[in-house]
Subunit: 327 residues, 2 copies
């Protein structure tokens, strides 16, 4: 990373996509020297962040997320918005191309000047790359993107993260009752603010209407965390550009309600605190594991707890005492 | 706490309820000298733990949880089991008596020799009392209780904890579609293994059957985390002892399936690891906050992050560096 922080800041603010990409690679890096520069960079661009609508998008493979994002993204462009698309994909390490990795996807959107598409880190965020989606989002905001779409797949861990850094969470599904949801981990349904049933045509329109009723029933048992919000179940065809305006309106209504409920900036504050606590834990563990001896001790203590050789609380106290004594 | 560890251990193992109660107060204490004794005590009793069925029970106020536990507890006693009832109640600090605090509740059960009822810590676990339900459970196991029933109310945080320390999670509700569930936080439904619709008589039997269908439909969208488990929706009347045997069988079936899936001990191991990580965080924060200066620094850093004056990740790194440098 030979590019100066100043060059990166200028590049980001002027909307240079190549430099934005370099900056993202920088904040994703775990190398100490990169982190120092990443901190400097983030400090510089921070005053220019916070102005986007942050949208989480999830759905099982095959629900048509890419097509949706392609055409929904173009709708946003038509409305004069700049759109950035990010992806969190824990499976990308195993199954490359499963999400955004395939360059033929979102081909048209990616060619648009006001769109920026960032594939998920190639090693997967559970590997050698830090989980820097939040920071990536900040960089995109500083580059002037009005909508940040963060795509993920319905496998649990990544949804929690997306829910923890976005303003509104969209669920894209296809018809199939609950069956095709078996692949979706419990807990996902609880985070959703808007549902879009995709791939609807005149042949399965009635089925879509029935599914909507069923989903609305199920929603009864999962009331929205946002006061006075009835989770909308919309349907259409992303491929044929049907129903996308309704999704746009629903997302906007949700944001408006959140602002009205004085819950918009408050949620973002809570999210920032969560990021802080997340990183505090990460860095403390990193510090501790940085020399082999204490890394081994950590695993030893954890194993003792896991096997109930020692009561977990006692074992935790032992270990924390050890850390703080040895310094 | 003037009672020796030896006396406590002997008392617990001989089933002395008074000494069991004292031991629980000890593990709930945050005083350093109590903690040292609590660690010793837990170490002594650990070989005698792990043999109970750990049942979490939740439901909105008014669902009849107390009556259920009273009569279900008696059913367990009839089957030759020893029963301990614990409670996690974050609201007890505000609204005393809301859960198990009222001594007139479970009156008959509490008089039984083979039953032990422990009200929630009077200050609420979010106050000055440590969240020691897991340790309390271990003490009860060492005292020979075969079933540990852990009661909570449907408000979110406490359910996660209960789900993290039990083998099976029972949800008690009354008829009322989803409406009366509005008070239940999102996410609760996702943890449930068995549902019991309470207060059913011949007048509302049909409504119960309809509700069962609705619930089963909703369950489609929340498949069990346990492979091959269809969440049973049972109904009856706890007051009239109707349907309780079915609940017993359902809980047992779930445990059996978990064992068959080789997921029973595995889940407990994961739970123990979670307890370890939970306490590591607690103790690290405690260490850091133990002097006023660093406690203030923590809050300052967190505030900077929350207000996005500094990027949360950078701020976390700053602070962790500070902690480890100052030692």
């Amino acid at each position: 990373m030979q590019i100066s922080t100043e060059t990166l800041v200028k590049g980001i603010k002027s909307g240079d996509k190549r430099l934005l990409g370099k900056a993202i690679t920088l904040v994703e890096s775990k190398k100490p020297e990169h982190r120092i520069q990443a901190d400097l960079l983030l400090k510089e661009i921070l005053p220019f962040t916070g102005n986007s609508v942050r949208v989480g998008i999830t759905g099982v493979p095959g629900a048509g997320k890419s097509t949706f994002i392609e055409n929904f993204g173009k709708l946003l462009l038509e409305k004069g918005k700049k759109v950035a698309v990010l992806a969190i994909d824990p499976s990308s390490a195993i199954n490359k191309g499963s999400i955004l990795g395939d360059k033929t996807r979102m081909e048209e959107l990616s060619r648009e000047e006001n769109a920026f598409i960032r594939p998920s880190p190639s090693s997967g965020f559970l590997g050698g790359v830090a989980n820097a989606t939040f920071e990536t989002m900040l960089l995109c905001e500083a580059a002037g993107y009005d909508y940040i779409l963060i795509e993920t797949v319905g496998v649990g861990q990544s949804e929690v993260l997306v829910s923890d850094i976005t303003d509104v969470f969209l669920f894209i599904k296809i018809i199939g009752g609950g069956d095709e949801l078996q692949g979706i981990k419990r807990g996902i349904m609880e985070m959703i603010d808007v549902v879009f049933i995709n791939k609807i045509n005149e042949n399965n329109l009635q089925a879509a209407k029935n599914e909507k009723i069923e989903l609305k029933r199920a929603m009864h048992f999962m009331p929205s965390k946002e006061e006075n919000w009835q989770i909308p179940v919309l349907f259409g065809s992303a491929l044929k550009n049907e129903g996308l305006v309704e999704v746009f309106t629903a997302l906007q209504n949700f944001i408006d309600l959140k602002i009205k409920n004085k819950n918009f900036l408050e949620t973002r504050q809570t999210q920032a605190e969560k990021r802080f606590d997340y990183w505090v834990q990460e860095y403390i563990l990193e510090k501790i594991k940085s020399d082999k001896q204490s890394a081994d001790r950590y695993l030893e203590h954890k194993k003792n707890a896991s096997e109930m050789k020692v009561n977990p609380s006692s074992e935790a106290r032992l270990w924390v005492d050890e850390i703080f004594k040895s310094r």
